[in-house]
């Protein structure tokens, strides 16, 4: 017999977990004590939400559920934003929280919070462990549920006395949950109908969403687009599923998207949505798509089909498997006229000159993407910096990560730490605004402590830029609560953490910064000074 807390560690080992992110406290101490004896690497973050975001970045790069840990009460509550952020983007997390002793639950004792209750709207599933013997089964189920179907966070709340209970440990080999059977392949008759629609289409368009990464279907989408000559666009979550070098790629759609993508959606006759829930930021109203357009929608989550946009041809299944089925039937086609038309909508970006002492952030990001290696992971925070990155960073063979669904400021630095730990061979660039950077700059310590090499770029416009822009345009220049006056000197901050840095105020400095960012393996911090009047799009 072993203590349940040791069994918890063994469960993680059985799931081949190498790195976990967390922050301890009394209620989770039994587990931490046993973690010390295992080979699992623990990354101490400086705030629990950032532990969740780091696990988020880690999960997105490894493609497997990632683990974050917090103590009871305030620790678990701090984790909540990260749980919701992962849920909104369908990222598989295993969130382990300590809980007060089971006989004290419900008595409002010190550091008690009903975290399974509070997290219920944002988890794929949750467990409040009442019987220590069930722990191995619960862990097995949790990893299975988090990582399969439409991925998402699963919370396991473990009271302290349960962690200390002796149990017989045996990790189950398989899972059987009668009420949970995610679909794999698509319905064959429906696939034939989809094929017919695609074959008859004059102006077909593929729209790729974030679900494609969960299914790892990037190759299949490229193949389908190649063979049938179907142009493709992405949602923000789908960015980097399609190389920006691909001549059939026409950019990101939506309120912050590019013209070619938005007109393509309006003018296509068959719209093929793959793993995209088409949220309100992508297509403001279903009316942005013509009545006559045939909509094909592949999604593993039946609830997404028809939720935001009516699908004429719904296809429930795993994108990779369904696309394989479609590819088996696909024959070469051409859509020269349509592609030519879309090409005519593409325009080379123009970068307006900015006032002295500032640079154009979009040009900087575009130049940076030309210099960085093809496999770079780019993590965008939230705000104008996010849209600048989404639309200007040319991603060829790398990944683009951002908090798309929840738009959680402060996501970039911790997620970048997770992404780097998941694959140390790839450079990782985090791009933030001066507001969002200040929501997680304490994580620079985490990066330093654990030797995580990051490229960090802060676009300083001295405002909560995106909100300021709304106040300028909608509230007639009535600026309130958006000035970031009082911010510290970020270069001094970087050097306080021992990170080399430079400030960029003109083209020449921009060149030099990009040169260092793209050639050095060390962490490097760049502050770009941006005019607050620089627009989002």
């Amino acid at each position: 017999m072993i203590k349940a807390c040791e069994a918890m560690v063994k469960c993680l080992e059985a799931e081949n977990v190498k790195v976990v992110f967390g922050y301890p406290g009394a209620a989770i101490c039994p587990f931490y004590d046993k973690l010390l004896d295992s080979g699992i690497r623990h990354i101490l973050v400086r705030h629990e939400a950032n532990g969740g975001h780091a696990a988020n970045g880690y999960a997105r790069i490894t493609g497997r559920p990632a683990v974050c840990i917090a103590t009871s009460g305030p620790g678990a509550l701090n984790l909540l934003t990260a749980i919701a952020t992962a849920y909104a983007d369908s990222i598989p997390l295993i969130c382990i929280t300590g809980q007060v002793n089971s006989d004290q639950i419900g008595r409002d004792v010190f550091q008690e919070a009903d975290i399974t209750g509070a997290a219920e709207p944002f988890v794929k599933h949750s467990y409040l462990v009442k019987n220590a013997d069930e722990l191995p089964k619960i862990f097995k189920e949790a990893f299975y549920i988090a990582g399969t179907g439409r991925p998402g966070p699963v919370l396991i709340d473990v009271p302290m006395d349960i962690q200390n209970t002796l149990i017989d440990f045996e990790y189950p080999e398989s899972v059987e949950i009668r009420s949970y059977k995610p679909t794999g392949k698509g319905n064959y008759a429906q696939i034939k109908r989809v094929m017919k629609a695609l074959n008859e289409a004059k102006r077909p368009l593929i729209c790729v969403g974030g679900g494609v990464f969960a299914s790892n279907a990037q190759t299949e989408i490229k193949e389908l687009s190649d063979i049938m000559q179907i142009p493709a666009i992405t949602t923000m979550m789908g960015i980097s599923a399609f190389s920006t070098d691909n001549p059939l790629f026409f950019g990101m759609l939506g309120m912050h998207g590019v013209k070619s993508a938005n007109i393509a959606v309006k003018d296509c006759d068959v719209l093929f949505l793959i793993g995209a829930r088409v949220g309100d930021r992508a297509v403001r109203t279903p009316l942005s798509v013509e009545e006559s357009t045939t909509i094909i929608h592949i999604d593993i989550d039946p609830a997404e089909i028809g939720k935001n946009m009516n699908a004429d041809l719904p296809l429930v299944g795993d994108a990779k498997l369904v696309l394989r089925q479609i590819l088996d039937l696909a024959k070469p086609l051409e859509h020269k006229e349509w592609i030519e038309y879309l090409n005519s909508l593409k325009s080379e970006p123009v970068y307006e000159k900015t006032k002295d002492g500032t640079i154009n952030p979009r040009k900087f990001i575009s130049d940076l993407s030309d210099a960085m290696s093809d496999n770079t992971t780019v993590v965008a925070d939230v705000g104008q910096n996010q849209i600048w990155t989404a639309t200007s960073y040319k991603i060829r063979n790398g990944r683009f990560l951002t908090s798309g669904g929840m738009g959680t400021m402060g996501y970039a630095i911790p997620a970048a730490i997770g992404a780097k730990l998941a694959d140390s061979g790839r450079p990782v660039v985090a791009i933030c605004g001066d507001g969002s950077f200040q929501m997680s700059l304490m994580e620079l310590a985490t990066a330093v402590q654990h030797g995580v090499k990051l490229k960090i770029i802060v676009m300083t416009n001295r405002y909560l830029g995106m909100v300021r822009e709304v106040q300028q345009n909608v509230y007639h220049n009535r600026y309130t609560a958006v000035s970031l006056d009082g911010s510290p000197d970020f270069i001094t901050i970087a050097s306080a953490y021992g990170i080399d840095s430079m400030r960029v105020t003109n083209e020449e400095e921009a060149k030099k910064a990009i040169e260092i960012l793209s050639s050095s393996d060390e962490s490097f911090f760049v502050e770009c000074i941006v005019d607050e009047h620089t627009a989002t799009i």
Partner: protein
């Protein structure tokens, strides 16, 4: 429009709060929700009456199916189901009114389960329409208290919603 949805769930702690939370969170309107175990003690059955259009009902079904503890969801068509509700009504009944109320009970199929110097308590298990009729007739006597279980429903004929093959 009213829709009747039958849900089979694992009889786990917290299932009911997950389901009711889902309804309030997604803005679905519930008329009633009734829950109890089935012949298999590991499984509970919930009958939910939802008010909404077809889009709503489709979303309710799909979102319910996403809950891990939900084993089966079925929306029953109004012409294929038998629906009943159990109601207890305490009605004011001074001695001179007792006989009348007893006659009404007899005609409507309600049973008298309690009596005091000033009240009679009726019990009826029937369709919504029938219960409504009884209420209307009894109301002038003075309804003191009424308790309802919420509607439960089962399919007509040999069709069934169970886990058995």
């Amino acid at each position: 429009m009213k829709h009747t949805i039958s849900v089979l769930v694992e009889n786990h702690a917290g299932v009911l709060s997950r389901i009711s939370g889902l309804f309030s969170r997604r803005g679905f309107n519930i008329d009633s929700l009734a829950v109890g175990v089935t012949d298999d003690p590991a499984v509970s059955r919930i009958t939910i009456i939802v008010d909404g259009n077809e889009y709503t009902v489709e979303q309710v079904e799909k979102q319910l199916n996403k809950l891990i503890d939900v084993i089966k969801v079925k929306c029953l068509e109004s012409d294929e189901l038998l629906a009943r509700e159990l109601v207890l009504i305490k009605v004011s009944a001074p001695a001179d009114r007792r006989a009348e109320i007893m006659t009404i009970a007899e005609i409507t199929g309600a049973s008298i389960i309690d009596i005091s110097m000033t009240t009679i308590t009726l019990q009826i298990a029937d369709t919504n329409a029938h219960i409504h009729r009884l209420e209307e007739i009894i109301r002038p006597y003075g309804i003191i208290e009424e308790v309802r279980t919420g509607t439960i429903a089962i399919q007509k004929g040999a069709e069934s919603i169970t886990l058995k093959k």
